[in-house]
Symmetry: C2
């Protein structure tokens, strides 16, 4: 099996995204405008921020009416009670509360800072974006829009940058997937000496998200990228497949 190169291609020139925008249409248009049209086998990585904006997953801080629980927690960590209310509304449980930051498990099951509620790269300082309510559905809609317009067999990831235990620095990970298996299962494969592989399951989707981040950056200027040349298995999967059940999590 020949090993091909993998390319991360930034989708530059996207307009400011507003509620109701068809991201699939915009991505296809810009990929053509940039002379790198979407092709068969591409994985398209789209930043959570523009997915949330396109879906209107935007809340006003000033319109929140915090509960006493939110107010108490906000006092403890020195954060705006209305913002804490928004974070709690997005969360299943609080994992850890420290000055300025709530580590929570979101309703989707993602463990991350402030439930992914984000004030950056949004014009009105009263507004925050929240994670898409169903980020797999978000990915699926983009995948269908791109496939309809191009006829190409592609996969889509919605990504966000998360911090993690033990290691410094955030990395970009997949919070929604459509059209491909986010895990690459090597169990049963043999190594070069005919022995079964021990490192068995690779998070293909998270590695693709990280590769995309190298061209997307954090400024918000490049909120999508094509990752081309990766081998993947088509199929209907959800990002929940990337969540390690607590009972199988040796690190907890």
């Amino acid at each position: 099996m020949p090993v091909s190169q993998v390319r991360a291609i930034p989708i530059t020139g996207l307009p400011e995204i507003v509620s109701g925008d068809d991201l699939g249409e915009l991505i296809v248009g810009q990929s053509v405008a940039n002379s790198e049209p979407v092709s068969d086998g591409d994985l398209i990585v789209v930043a959570q921020k523009i997915v949330s904006k396109s879906e209107g997953a935007v809340l006003s801080i000033s319109q929140q009416d915090p509960t006493s629980e939110a107010t108490k927690l906000a006092d403890e960590i020195g954060k705006d009670a209305r913002l804490v209310q928004i974070i709690l509304d997005q969360s299943r449980r609080v994992v850890r509360a420290v000055p300025g930051v709530l580590i929570v498990e979101t309703h989707h099951g993602f463990i991350c800072a402030n439930a992914g509620v984000d004030q950056s790269n949004i014009e009105d300082t009263d507004l925050v974006t929240t994670l898409p309510e169903d980020s797999d559905r978000s990915a699926q809609l983009i995948q269908e829009a791109v496939s309809d317009r191009t006829g190409c067999k592609i996969g889509v990831l919605v990504s966000d940058t998360f911090n993690r235990p033990w290691r410094e620095g955030s990395i970009n990970v997949a919070i929604g997937v459509a059209g491909f298996d986010p895990l690459h299962d090597l169990r049963g494969m043999i190594d070069d000496y005919d022995r079964e592989m021990t490192t068995s399951v690779v998070s293909l989707a998270d590695e693709v998200a990280s590769a995309a981040q190298l061209v997307m950056g954090e400024s918000g200027r490049v909120p999508a990228a094509i990752v081309r040349g990766v081998e993947w298995e088509p199929g209907d999967y959800a990002a929940g497949r990337l969540l390690r059940p607590a009972g199988r999590d040796l690190f907890r």
Copy 2:
């Protein structure tokens, strides 16, 4: 600032690595043979496995004489006591012991399964590779060898695939770096609306390792790759920079 593409280029055709091999020389040779010679600005990712082999970081299971501590632990988790001895020798502490697996903190400070001791992709089933004793030094030697031969300004990462809390699937991360800052610090940068960025520090090295893994795979056949087109800051840094001090680890 224009956003360029990023490419992950597999370094195919490397020979079976044995103790004493000059990896820098071999990588330069194969990159030329593959018509993708090392260029200014490249980050070269080298799998731990071949670094360990080249440094003779290989141990014989049968020659181990396990302590009573290792024997007791081996009984508990159903693992060969001699292998457990090797793992303990590589470790500062055991984080968790479960059937078949020891999660440890290595002497370097990495938290990973079985201290990175690996039986796959090595011909003699009595032998295991251990992580390089000083993986930054390993990276530095490769960087010097490549720079000397090519005159190019490059960075080098030694990588390994680690599992992690909360999320399924291993990802490739940097365990040794040379020549560049493994973190990309965005603190103080402003977003598109003139507000300071909140997500502040990105693990550039881990994202590069993940991008490289997309062409390196797990079979051992492609144990090195060039990642081209990434912007990075030159400098003398160590992979220890990627270790989050326990006191600052909100997730512990």
